[in-house]
Symmetry: C3
Subunit: 351 residues, 3 copies
């Protein structure tokens, strides 16, 4: 429970008072459907404004340009230049999700956890039950290591990082500060590299590189990120990866990239800063994508991209061109018939 006054004081750049009593307290953020009479709704999109106004909510945060001169409501109204950002910072500070960050016992370190005698844990580190922490692991202050997770030898984890349950982090990796890694994810597994003899047998090429997650990196659930052959696989600062993807050995993902679910990246590729991709997109091996590239869903980057912009398709095209290509596909059977008719008209025979 927090007063609206406190919210406007906490985030003066993001929250401006428009109308109503700031001394009222809100109990929870909500959407319109679920709102109670003490809820606050962050209206990210003007199309949801009317629904929010009609809801039971006590307070709304609305886009600043939605509060026109004739705007009137009996709710407490705050305006924001960025209601989505306001939602994030207000919720993270005042309504944090904590049920997944608790210690399960009186002590911070669960009695069933195995922490190697040479591992070093920072202050206020929570180790949930059945965690396994190998030799020489270093874990920074205020980290949470979720139940049944395993961190192999020599890996270093920065302050404030949250490793959810059932995560695997292989040996010698470096995880930055304030990272988050979700369940069933594998970081630092050996890359898929083999040599072959003349009989067709395959021999593993050992991988000595690590995986580096820089600060503020989030990795979703059921992800796999392989270590590099000699150099490291690197996810740069602030990149956010959704669930259920795979990044192969020696890859780099640029700073502040947004990688949605189902991503697949073959070995030794590099995508630049602020990369954004739709679901189930892929990047082929040994190629580079420059900074500030956006890729539509289900696309396959099969050649280097050297110019910022929007792209899509397979083969990869500009987004605009690919939209036209996609629109043509359903017309192909008709096009084929038309060409047959033209050939007949002209008396052109098949070769």
């Amino acid at each position: 429970m927090v007063t609206l006054l406190e919210l406007t004081k906490s985030f003066p750049d993001l929250l401006k008072h428009y109308s109503g009593d700031l001394n009222k307290s809100v109990t929870n953020p909500s959407d319109a459907d679920l709102a109670r009479d003490s809820s606050i709704i962050f209206v990210q999109n003007p199309k949801y404004l009317q629904g929010a106004l009609n809801s039971k909510a006590m307070a709304l945060v609305i886009p600043e340009n939605s509060a026109t001169s004739d705007f009137d409501s009996d709710k407490v109204i705050l305006t924001s230049k960025n209601p989505a950002l306001a939602q994030s910072v207000v919720c993270l500070k005042h309504f944090p999700v904590t049920k997944n960050k608790t210690s399960y016992q009186d002590s911070l370190i669960a009695s069933s956890a195995f922490v190697h005698s040479t591992a070093k844990l920072g202050k206020s580190v929570i180790i949930q039950p059945n965690v396994v922490i190998g030799p020489n692991v270093v874990i920074g202050d205020n980290c949470v290591i979720g139940a049944n997770s395993c961190i192999e030898a020599d890996t270093v984890i920065g302050e404030g990082t949250h490793i959810h349950p059932q995560v695997f982090i292989g040996h010698s990796c470096k995880i930055g500060k304030n990272c988050e890694i979700h369940p069933q994810t594998s970081i630092g597994t050996e890359g898929y590299g083999y040599s072959h003899d003349e009989k067709g047998n395959h021999y593993r090429i050992p991988h000595y590189g690590a995986v580096i997650l820089e600060d503020d990196v989030h990795i979703g659930a059921n992800y796999s990120i392989d270590r590099g052959t000699f150099k490291d696989t690197i996810i740069h600062k602030g990149a956010k990866l959704d669930n259920h993807g795979h990044i192969a050995h020696n890859c780099e993902i640029g700073e502040n990239s947004l990688v949605t679910a189902g991503f697949l990246m073959a070995g030794s590729g590099k995508v630049g800063k602020n990369f954004v991709c739709g679901g189930r997109s892929a990047v082929a091996g040994h190629l580079e994508v420059c900074d500030n590239v956006m890729i539509s869903g289900v696309s396959n980057v099969t050649k280097p991209i050297t110019k910022p912009g929007k792209y899509g398709g397979f083969p990869i095209q500009s987004y605009a061109d690919n939209t036209k290509t996609l629109a043509t596909l359903p017309l192909l059977p008709k096009l084929r018939k038309e060409v047959a008719k033209i050939k007949k008209t002209l008396g052109i025979s098949d070769d």
Copy 2:
């Protein structure tokens, strides 16, 4: 071991005696190749009938319309209007798989499991080794919680549900009765929602919704299902999800849907009842698919579907139209040459 008489008595609607001695006992269901002289074969498809007749099996369950007047065999023959359903119910009752449902020690609750003091376990619940169960979790009668699984605070699990080993279920979720969740699956992870500041940094939008699995829902291995932002992500009653898929925040999967492997569903979408999809299909975000829709494999639903029927492709088309589109693709190089020839014939130059 069960007599054929007992089978016909147990499932009188599904199993009718056609010929042979019902007092014989069968030891195991089988296919034709592996059958022993005490096996029973369920012939789902008439094309496998001759192989079953030639096998060593003692008894066959055959489609009722396969037993024509001149049908003759020295095996015990039962007929069924639905041999596949007969196989399910007979096998589930008389030949259940139980090796994955056992307690590993004398007690039902393994000594190495961590069960929080505030958790409530029903009757005959089996908790395998190294399970972690958080505060206020409620587990119904006759559930099995597999080794190394983790169930976070406040989650409720209905009677008879089988959680396999190494499953993660986040806090505050609701799992119905008689559900089954396979290994390496994550239920209730935080949705992929971020806001962005003007510098391109991303801020998590906390997710307060849960994941609801209604009764009789099966989830395969290596699946991820994210919790909703405010409302819940819901998998409705009787839906069966194969392995290796991802369902994002705020989604709904309709009752009795059959979702095969590799499915990907972006946020805030809804598919109706009896949805059926082929492998590696996907549904884009913020759209609705009505009841009774079937999608072919490797399809991408990129717009709402409002009419029941069969669909396929990317962009999505009717199944019949997409079949034609797919058939045209290999012909494109030829089509291109033909158009070039026509242009030449007509003296049409490139613009």
Copy 3:
């Protein structure tokens, strides 16, 4: 640290002395960028030769045909008919990765592991913390079972196999010698098989088959392989599967196949020996692919392949034809306009 003389003596067929002092010792394999003055570089591709020559490395292994008569370097130069294979065997023998194969405590069997009283462990088996091993499991000599992994009843694992942390292996499976299974992988989960009643409810068809991994099979991270209905799902000797794929019930993968990441195989299919596929390819159900087939990335095998060779696309074509089809796709909007123009020229109207 090993002398170059020892290397040439260990692998006389693969390493020939070309120039420089064989009594020098190398400390680590490397690439050119990270090389120190005691490093050895394996130059797999002549295009990387100059970079290796310019690096700090002490020694190079170069392709035998790269050492022409005028070749000169102050480094120690070895030649090889197969530098990649030389890299594998030298690294595996002299620079093995061992940090993921250690016991975490003084004893080989971690005190927190649960090993059922009826399980049989071979000599020098390492069981890391919190492992769960069920009744009648047999584990061969020199195996490593990673932290938090679970092996259900009756499964047999051959000598020298390395199960990484957080792997699930279901009951009654057989894992060969010298296999490797990476984290978050599920082997032996129940197949996706259901029967249906007239009301649209689904009933599980129990699966009695197992999963067999023959010797020298590697499975990547976050993989799922389902058990067969009656027969077994089989991955034949020497096959190497990358991360993040799914193989359904009753499938077979041929000997020495190379299956890259994101593979999806529907039920009851079979691919032959030496199958090679690019990323995110798929094989539909109930069909067979003969020996020695190569499939390009993002392809879908939708019909049987009976002739060895290279294939690609969806629908599947020869690789050469599919390359042409893919090249045509971006041209479709232009092709469509051309046909419209031709129709206008000829006075052909739409039907």
